[in-house]
Symmetry: C2
């Protein structure tokens, strides 16, 4: 018997459709064939990318030379550029902004044939360190209001280059989806004087029905009203609206948990394409209070097993053909097996 | 030089990314191989579907027998059922509704090998007639607040059965995406005392830069802030919030224009997968004024040429790699060639 479940933060109902009750093997996504290297993101090919902005590299090696483990470069085909000036125009119903913003690529490994999950925890930590450092640095450009970091794994999830990488886009406006989340969280805070994410975390921990795994700093679970089969949220236990505030110890814990969770997804679901998105509050200007108390940064991992189709486009609701509590069982077993 | 454009109805910015400036042949979606018929939706296979709810059929033929041209049946694996009772429960952050609703399939032709665009206008008219009649009939069930009709064409756009069909889902709540549109339109109406869609239509008609084709009752254009390459909107000239009010003459005009537009998409873009969604106002209860003045029903056609990826999931914004004014040139030429 299907049921509708409501996301408590944003007003989104999800139909948990039990009629088909799909199992992991029912999702027959295409396995990708890895093209032969080297590519422009490989070690030794540094001259083929724009000049690097940040890297984690062996001491004694120079920028734009081999010897790096993580490397951040501007996107060669950027959607936005920092060189643009801010121009805002309105002509009746047509509102336009110049293409001001940042669009960068975080190359996660010099090795063409490795995926993020193949890297040792220490190297995943360095990737996350690059996330934090770039987010901190872009904050200095006060024209930018929001920074999103995401990873598209696999062609079906939107990746155009196979070599393991993430992307950063920073923009001069707070995006629609972020505003919805901020407003939902803020309304809850005004009413209850508590962070909604902290409450979700407590409720899920108490019920213990949707938790995949946890460690000293982080918890991963399948949300009650998940849009997609095997959708995963990762939350820090400690309340914080801004990922840029994370300390190195917590970052190491995040690397550990992220590896466990992504490896479980890979094994349980036959290496599916997925999107990983870092949800944070907007950049604060000096003196602004913002959403410090009501928002709680987190990571969403969205495996691409079903298609977003007419119903989703028309309603903003989703049909999820896998019961979250059953999906979690499968991932939890896979994580335990790894340990 | 990229630019950001804002949808005037809902607060959504779109990045029109000109760096790559993709041409129709740059989108290499997989062409689908049509599986051999007959399938459960074919003429002569009526016993394999649930009993029909509505059909357009030759006089003298009986329900659930051959002789039909359009046939509506309940979905065999429904996401929702009308037999459910309405149950609403809240347990802290977990809000749940029983799976009450309707989920029907509109089989557009008895012929396994024809697509909607292969049908003569008269038969497309009968498909649209089925849309209207089912929407009118479901309105009688006062538990239902909203009815969405959509078509997923191609596996990549979410179709699980190849035989040409559309789907109807009616639900007891007004969906998130619809609320956003209604609220955006209502805010505009409160401020300007005019329908925003009527204004968009006038502005686009005057500029004549994004119109694909039009006839006595309908206009089709590529929106200024389109999310997707070759995204198309079809609007009736006459203001109306409810598709159920459409008359037969206008329905014929819609069939004519829809065929032209979908055929242009098919030819110009090598038969891409797409979603087609009918955007209407919620069902009105007796005496309700609703969004009669501010909302304007319309059809959105969304070709699946790009992937919704991390950036879109994280922000609710979109990156569109084709300039709308260039996309329209291509479709307009293809339409003229047909005529």
């Amino acid at each position: 018997m299907s049921e509708l479940r409501k996301d408590p933060v944003i007003e989104r109902w999800v139909i948990i459709a039990t009629e088909r009750n799909l199992k992991p093997n029912d999702f027959d996504h295409q396995l990708e064939i890895r093209k032969k290297g080297p590519c422009v993101f490989c070690e030794g090919m540094e001259m083929h990318t724009p000049e690097e902005i940040f890297s984690v590299r062996d001491s004694g090696t120079s920028p734009n030379q081999p010897g790096w483990r993580v490397r951040v470069v501007p996107n060669k085909f950027p959607a936005l550029r920092l060189e643009e000036t801010f121009v805002h125009s309105v002509e009746r119903n047509h509102e336009t902004l110049s293409g001001l913003g940042a669009h960068e690529v975080i190359i996660e490994t010099p090795d063409h044939y490795l995926e993020l999950t193949d890297l040792p925890e220490k190297q995943i930590y360095e990737v996350l360190l690059a996330y934090r450092e770039r987010m901190r640095d872009l904050k200095k450009d006060t024209r930018l209001r929001y920074c999103v970091i995401f990873k598209n794994q696999g062609v079906m999830a939107g990746a155009s280059i196979q070599h393991a990488h993430s992307q950063i886009i920073a923009i001069p406006v707070v995006p629609k989806r972020v505003k919805e989340e901020l407003q939902g969280a803020d309304a809850y805070f005004q009413k209850n004087n508590r962070c909604i994410f902290c409450d979700i975390l407590q409720q899920d921990k108490k019920e213990a029905k949707r938790i995949i795994t946890q460690n000293d700093h982080f918890i991963s679970f399948i949300p009650y009203a998940s849009r997609f089969p095997y959708e995963i949220w990762i939350l820090p236990f400690e309340h914080s609206a801004h990922f840029i505030e994370i300390g190195n110890e917590a970052l190491l814990c995040l690397a550990e948990l992220l590896k466990q969770v992504l490896l479980a997804v890979k094994k349980a679901l036959n290496n599916p394409p997925y999107n990983l998105i870092l949800h944070v509050a907007p950049y604060l200007q000096t003196g602004e209070e913002g959403y410090n108390q009501s928002f709680h940064w987190h990571i969403e991992v969205l495996p691409s097993l079903t298609k977003v189709a007419g119903f989703e486009w028309g309603t903003g609701f989703y049909i999820n053909p896998v019961i979250p509590e059953e999906a979690v069982e499968i991932l939890r077993k896979t994580v335990s097996f790894q340990k």
